[in-house]
């Protein structure tokens, strides 16, 4: 059964992975980090990513037509994808059976990264992290 570190190391094995972290989006706390971060400071990156994740989770505009009700107390959004000239960011919400506000953040190089694969794998990792 993987813990936080195993989960992050697995994320780093994805092609093009530059850095990964587990972040609490209410506080902006990085619960675990591995690899590099875009501004050389995992904690600052976590706080910034947390703000983005919170907006996406809380605004109804990004929820599905049915099921914006946070059934089980979990956000209706699955993931966020950001692309820029040289990299991708994938933020995947982690659904837990206790009250939490956690997401996985993967930073991928654009030239060697595979966004579709990363998105699928990150979803699987988010599930295994809390279900085992």
């Amino acid at each position: 059964m993987p813990g936080i570190d195993e989960c992050l190391l697995e994320a780093m094995r994805l092609p093009g992975a530059r850095g990964a972290s587990v972040v609490d989006w209410t506080s902006g706390l990085a619960l675990g980090t591995v690899g590099d971060s875009p501004n050389g400071d995992h904690e600052a990156t976590a706080a910034e990513a947390a703000e983005l994740a919170r907006l996406a989770a809380e605004h109804k505009a990004f929820a599905p037509e049915e099921g914006a009700d946070w059934s089980g107390g979990q956000p209706p959004v699955e993931d966020l994808i950001i692309s820029n000239r040289d990299s991708y960011h994938v933020l995947r919400f982690v659904r837990t059976t206790f009250d939490s506000s956690v997401f996985l953040h993967l930073w991928l190089g654009r030239s060697d990264g595979n966004l579709a694969l990363a998105r699928i794998r990150l979803g699987e990792m988010a599930e295994r992290l809390v279900v085992g």
Partner: protein, 298 residues
Amino acid sequence: MEAGPLPGLGRPDPDPSGRPDGADRQAGAPPVLSPMLSRLAEERATGVLTRDRGVLYLVEGQVVHAESPATPGLDVLLTSRGALGSDGWWEAVSQAGAERRVGRFLVDSGRLAAGALELCHLGALYDAAFFTLGASSGPARFRYGVAHWIGPVRPVTVDAVERETLRRRALLHRIWPDPDTDTAELVRTGRAVDAVLPPRQRTVLDQVDGERTVSDISRVLGRPGFHTLVDVRRLAAAGIVTTRARTVECRAPETVAPPVSPMSPVSTATARAAQAAQASADPDVALLRRLRDALEAL
């Protein structure tokens, strides 16, 4: 009960540890949260640090566990939403408590995924540490050799805990600078609630009944205390929630005989402002009052 300078803007100093204990307190730099804790980290101490708002357990100078009455413990967090049955929790405590490896037991026996335990425990640790290292904390004492029965889960450095505590204070301050709602009984202001209030805030608001405090609400919801603190500061910033004391203070001029002497200039001013607010049906007055409160709290 605000104490110590808050870094109002920007990030706190990323590394407050390189400073001699207790120095720079006047200089506007973030204070060393606990000189004793820094010393214990340096000497790689094992034991429990007790302050008036909570406890921190150390193993070889690293923080392995923290508890505070202000935030629900791991048992409440794990059982209140069904991640773990309360039977499962107590069985783990009775089976593995004596050996001080309850966390390990929960994972090894298949009751909880390792990641779930780490996420929940780590969140609870930073949360309890935030309250334990609160600015109003009094003297601390340390008992060497004491270990917690949860056992090792995911130790973090004292530096990381102190840095995060300072960052959280700054975060709260940025949302709404008045700390009164952190500890007082909360009431709704009667202000119309925005239909698109975020669900986590709405859940908190539903628990505001004039009696409960942030820590009461956290326990009812099985939610980390700091999360509730953040949502309540947002609700306060939106003018939806305030402290019970403040509404009583504002209503006082209507029900009590005109104040003669014992009132301080500040509360007289508040009373006058409250009278002005009640005299006018203009909703802008309420806004101005909140603005004034915020400015006073800066």
